[in-house]
């Protein structure tokens, strides 16, 4: 490997990137856009859930219960219903996510100090939202239940009942429950793979398709020089994205970086080189830009997004897919990033992930160099 030739290839590739302002723009703007979206627009937290009310009781007691729902920031009354048919219609048209049904004997039971029940119907299509909505509703009903107990006891001249149990919850690592703390480290891993899918996966295939590969073959450039030279400008671009993402996390979203910045930087570089080489390898093997784009999407971006624990918990996957995730480098990188970011754990606790990433990276660069043949087929 000669440094001069390596440098020449890197310069040529840099010119390709710089001369195409759109590619350059997208590779910086897209990661920023993703960070902004996740930071400001996307959340699974639910509030102002629209619900319809079927109050068969129509008493002061039932109105008191309903006011607990409407007074909570989690629920908004979207209208009244006069039966299950109307509830069905409201849910069908997505006008409401939930229906509260107060039975006809509610007021009588509450006044007489008897136990009673209300019905909550939830649109189960979106299971996550439905679960959260049910949890909110349950909490409100529990409060109402406690008040009912106290009121009845006082009316009978008894001491108010004591809650037998009190649950105290503490959230570690993210005591304010800010989802950005969780998202930012994962997003960094996804963005790096995105750059690989968009940039390096097409670069060698393009040379084959447009015929400039023949010119490269006729030069004294060696395969390894070509591979490494083509990687260098993209590593620089990816590192820029990385720095921007970490900076945005730190100053825009106040995500605490509890671990070492050095560990973070080094491991990101290792992962980045591996991801970009994977893209390059796809490009070398397919030799067609259309094919490379499809393969790259499935091999780089999709697993980083779905099988890495970024959004969906690996523990929830079926066993067979859990095994597959061991081959997804983003999985290790995300564990590492979250560890460094949120738990402040050092290299000692995460050396296994680090070693795996290193192996992945070396393997990808090695395979790219081996598979690249300077020969016309």
């Amino acid at each position: 490997m000669k440094l001069r030739r390596l440098w020449a290839v890197a310069r040529k590739e840099t010119l390709h990137v710089v001369r195409d302002p759109r590619a350059l723009g997208v590779s910086i703007a897209l990661p920023m856009l993703l960070l902004m979206l996740f930071g400001y627009a996307l959340t699974l937290d639910v509030d102002h859930v629209p619900f319809v009310l079927w109050d068969q009781s129509g008493t002061a007691a039932s109105r008191d219960l309903v006011s607990k729902f409407t007074g909570s920031p989690y629920f908004t009354l979207a209208g009244a219903a006069g039966g299950y048919g109307e509830i069905r219609e409201a849910l069908d048209h997505n006008r409401a996510l939930m229906a509260l049904v107060v039975p006809v004997n509610y007021g009588r039971d509450a006044a007489a100090g008897r136990s009673t029940q209300v019905q909550v119907i939830v649109d189960g299509s979106d299971a996550n939202t439905a679960t959260i909505v049910l949890n909110y509703a349950e909490a409100i009903v529990q409060t109402a239940s406690r008040e009912l107990g106290v009121r009845v006891a006082m009316a009978r001249g008894l001491a108010p009942p004591v809650d037998p149990l009190d649950l105290r919850a503490r959230f570690w690592f993210n005591s304010d429950m800010v989802s950005m703390y969780f998202i930012v480290p994962g997003l960094i891993a996804v963005i790096m793979m995105l750059i690989a899918a968009l940039l390096t996966s097409l670069t060698v295939a393009r040379e084959w398709e447009t015929g400039t590969m023949e010119q490269l073959i006729s030069t004294p450039v060696k395969g390894s020089e070509l591979v490494v030279g083509k990687l260098l400008p993209y590593v620089a671009l990816g590192s820029l994205d990385m720095v921007l993402a970490v900076a945005a996390g730190r100053w825009l979203f106040d995500v605490p970086l509890r671990g070492s910045l050095l560990v973070l930087g080094l491991m990101s570089l290792v992962y980045l080189v591996g991801a970009l080489s994977l893209g390059l390898l796809i490009s070398i093997v397919t030799k067609s830009q259309l094919l490379a784009s499809q393969v790259a999407f499935v091999a780089t971006f999709l697993p980083a997004f779905l099988l890495s624990g970024f959004m969906f918990d690996i523990a929830n996957l079926p066993r067979a897919l859990q095994v597959v995730t061991y081959a997804v480098p983003a999985r290790y990188f995300i564990v590492l990033l979250r560890g460094v970011y949120l738990k402040g754990v050092g290299p000692g606790d995460l050396h296994l992930e680090g070693i795996f990433l290193l192996v992945f990276s070396v393997l990808m660069v090695g395979l790219s160099v081996l598979r690249f043949k300077k020969r016309l087929v």
Partner: protein, 375 residues
Amino acid sequence: MFERLRAMLRKEFIQVLRDPRMRAVLVVVPLFQVIIFGYAVNTDVRGVHLGLLDLDNTPASRAFVAAFTGSGYFSATRDLASPAETVALLDRGTVRAVLRLDSGFQRDLDAGRTAHVQLVLDGTDSNTASIVMGYASRIVATYGRSVLVEHAGRTLGAAPPPSLSMASRAWFNPNLDSRFYFLPAVIALLVMVISIILSSMAIVREREIGTMEQIMVSPIGRMEFILGKTLPFALIGFLDTALISVLATFWFRVPFLGSPLVLFVATGLYLMSTLGVGLFISTISRTQQQAMMTAFFFMQPAILLSGFIYPIANMPRPVQWLTFLNPLRYFLVIIRGVFLKGTGFEVLWPQMLGLLVLGLALLGLATTQFRKTSG
């Protein structure tokens, strides 16, 4: 005209299907994605790994712990030897939460005092943590109620304080299986990715490798060229929709309550929009890489701002308005309605109208732009 269009279509099919690897990609990639999506996209919080630290170790504390382990929400519970272990287990992610009962739990319960229970949760994933917290409060409330009833039973003649309870039912998805919600959406997603990427790269490729000039000198007209470049991908879009619908219904057992006709019409309307976007991208790109990057730049926000995973109702108001320009937004409501609720044209017509308007506008924009750039 039809003869020339047929020739053009034949050329396109040959070009796409000539490479055996591309043939494989067109079938294998969607299948692969459905399998991955079908199994991976899952927001159910079940089988949470729970650590148990019972420092009281009395019949009462053990009964309470049994209420947790028997609830079905938690699995693979693990007994901690000492409080110090909490940190290590949560750090390594072995458990999601640790339930801690201090000594005196039974004494407090028996004396009619409030017994304190502590739950330490790994808050890293805040959505999962708050759902786990919800499960725990439900278990605690139910158990607390049974304690009250039992206490009242011990004192002769005393009735337990009245309670208000909640009977809950989830319509359309009684077991709250999130796969039912996501799999129909995967169809929308895949059709978009495939039709936009293929159509946007198809025209640019001719330009990049120089065959565009050969087409220009042939008697093929602009409309025939555009149709030739979109119809094959519309066909692939329909085929993928059918393929994935069958897979979702028969393999993943997602209920399909609506009519295939509604789905077919809606898919056609939806393809108008996605192919319009693909065509437009190809008119403003010079290289395939540019086309692909532009396609991604459109699709990433389109997927995230569609209600696919993140509900639109949770977004800030200006962003919610922006989603009206997103074809995926309308199609998701339609496809989820058709699959899970069995709704038809009478409920879904506003969404279909939205797709029609958007599709006509995008196709119109793309053809005008195409005329300008290729003229």
